[in-house]
Amino acid sequence: MIELQTLKKSDEIIQINEVRVLDPMQCTDEVRTVWLQQGHLRGQPTADESVSQTVDGQGQWLMPALVDLCARLREPGEQQHGTLKSEGQAARALGFLHLVTPPDTKPVLESGALLPGLRQKAYDDGGIYLHVIGALTKGLDGNQPANLAGLKQGKCIAVSNARHAFANNDVLLHTLEYAATLGLTVFFYPEDPILAQDGCVHDGFMAARQGLAGIPAIAETVALSTQLQLVEATGVRAHFSQLSCAASVELIAAAKARGLPVTADVAIHQLYLTDASIDGFNSAAHVRPPLRSEADRVGLRAGVASGVIDAICSHHEPLSATAKMMPFAETQAGISSFDAFMGLAVGLVREGLLSPLQLAGLISKQPAMIAGIDALWQGVGGWALIDPALDWVLTSSEIRSAGKNTPFLGTSLTGRVTAVFE
């Protein structure tokens, strides 16, 4: 599907002894010795072939290359925070070989002709497969559909208005009809702009105590309800990204029960943190959608466990130190998430929420299918070796991303990617 001129892969054969292989495509979870070549599992080498490297896989997991449904790499336009090189290389080392990026770069990703060059640069600089969500409306201004056919020709994997508002529901209705005509998936990040107003944190006790303007949960659910009705009316395939409210999980569950063509994901930090993290104006926890209540966190976890939520994304948004060095509301929202991702993801297994195989599905196969890149994902292969018992501390020097903006800084984590094979 993608016309990337890929680098020639090594023909070396790597043997991993007694590793727990988590393969969501085959639905298998078994401990065995495996051989990898060119990013793919292969049979035992013949007498004529030699193993160039042997790895002890005891106690470790081997899962397919990770697919992230939302990562902002900051290029083009905001290279002071990160680049395709810095973020691509970080992602690759941490097991993410496929990154989906929203269109709200500078300039906006609304021209299909520019997409092949961007993908090639992401591969050349960062060694990752970049999958672009094109702009749904021109300049993301919410008034008129962008050149969706051109974007499709440029092989965007979906279209979206990112977090930008639509002028009104009439525009939304017709852009969805247009996207449906072209067979494009629409990504939504539901938030009613009027209800959200100038808010910067969840509208709850912490917002009230600190005098910060709140974004109520209904800002998400009102937008989501409207969008679901328009999805039903237009028949467009839709993905709802970065849900933050328990009530949103219920709305998605009801929509799926009605047979609507919808999927949803959640950002990993929403499964751990609540608005308690903003205490003391901690700008590292300033993120959009905001960290919400404990009830929301529990509801999102239940959605992941029940399968209503189809994927877990990083929602990686690296920022320079300067962007967070202001009074809280004036700081830029965003969490640099790549580095803590696997430690947090493994925690979901350790806490009994998911089986290791379910986790592998949520961060590789399912997002690949949502993005419609499953053929490429399988075709290029790639496997990540994870030590689920490795204790480590997320320090600034350990962070591979250019953005050190994470509320998990200084946190002890258990579980880490130890090698990536492709």
Binding site: F205, G211, G280, A329, L409, L413
Partner: protein
């Protein structure tokens, strides 16, 4: 996942930022996290600056020190009282016209402050439209300059709260533990309300009530340990102190309220309503007032009103806070030196 990730912000707690290693004030950012002893000490020091009949004394306690007033938001009363307070302490006082300063040329707040600090500032008195601005300065920009919060967004106005507490302590005739205090009006957008509630709680007030329509109540405020009333008559009944808050014009021209007249009808502090409170209940307002919107003129000027006393006590409280924070900074430097040598 370890528990530590769920408690990541302990280092940001205000109480740990505004106190020096001996536990004394080195900044004054918020009431939150301060003990009853801290607040009582501030009130006692403020009292010591009041002479007979509320006359403010001159004491050269900040001689040789420089106090810079940085008002990123317009203010007349607060800025003037801080200026008077610093002068009464013999400090060098500079009012920086921040609207015309480099911040309007794109310089970051951090760079502006670093430049001013280099001009040997000892104290920054800061008013800013963003909640947490003073906290940010004390934590991340100038921890070694005493930061006094003169109001940050909707978050806190701790010197206003302390002058309110001084007013109550001097005039209520009974201890805080026997007082029922009502705060009326726009609680949601009020930094004064937040700081008053925290100060009253810390000083052990018997009961704190807030009286406001749902549109002007912050989310989850009932969990602050206050009683919430939507009906003014019920809320004011039996109160010893009534604090009326200013309704800002931009709130009236919004979906939050229908008209000033209707607000007055429902929540205006009138003579008739004041009669529902305890006899001789104290009437307070942080100013500036909208007469005929949140308070009747006859009540504002009546003999239960302490509104002008509040302004007078504001100077004493600000002198106390300037003195204590400067002292705390000097103590911190001394202790740090001793620690390094030891």
């Amino acid at each position: 996942m370890t528990a530590s990730a769920l408690h990541i912000s302990a280092q940001h707690l205000p109480s740990q930022i505004q106190l020096n290693r001996a536990g004394n004030l080195k900044h004054f950012l918020t009431i939150e996290g301060l003990s009853c002893d801290h607040l009582t000490h501030i009130l006692n020091v403020a009292e010591s600056f009041l002479g007979e009949g509320g006359r403010i004394l001159n004491l050269p306690l900040l001689e040789g020190h420089t106090v810079m007033n940085l008002f990123f938001e317009p203010s007349t009363r607060t800025r003037t009282t801080f200026e008077v307070a610093a002068q009464r302490l013999s400090a060098n006082v500079l009012n920086i016209d921040i609207q015309r300063s480099s911040t309007s040329k794109g310089e970051t707040l951090r760079d502006t402050l670093w430049n001013l600090r280099a001009m040997t500032a000892d104290v920054f008195v800061v008013r800013h439209s963003a909640s947490g601005a003073a906290h940010f300065m004390a934590q991340s920009v100038c921890p070694d300059v005493a930061i006094i919060n003169a109001g940050d967004g909707r978050h806190a106005h701790p010197t206003q709260a302390m002058l309110d507490m001084l007013t109550i302590r001097r005039h209520a005739g009974k201890p805080f533990s026997e007082l029922t205090v009502a705060i009326i009006g726009d609680i949601k957008h009020s930094r004064v309300a937040r700081s008053d509630v925290q100060a009253l709680q810390t000083l052990g007030a018997k009961e704190i009530r807030i009286i406001a329509p749902k549109t002007l109540q912050p989310a989850g405020f009932e969990t602050f340990g206050v009683k919430v009333f939507e009906n003014m008559d019920q809320g004011i009944a039996g109160c010893d102190v009534v604090i009326s808050l200013r309704i800002q014009n931009e709130r009236i021209a919004s979906p939050l309220l229908s008209s000033p007249e209707e607000f007055y009808k429902l929540y205006g502090l009138t003579e008739a309503r004041l009669k529902l409170a305890n006899p001789n209940a104290l009437v307070m307002h942080p100013g500036p007032m909208n007469r005929g919107v949140e308070i009747a003129s006859s009540v504002a000027d009546g003999n239960q009103s302490l509104i002008l006393k509040q302004v007078n006590y504001g100077i004493a409280v600000r002198m106390a806070v300037l003195r204590l924070a400067m002292q705390g900074q000097l103590e911190e430097r001394q202790l740090a030196e001793q620690e390094t040598l030891g």
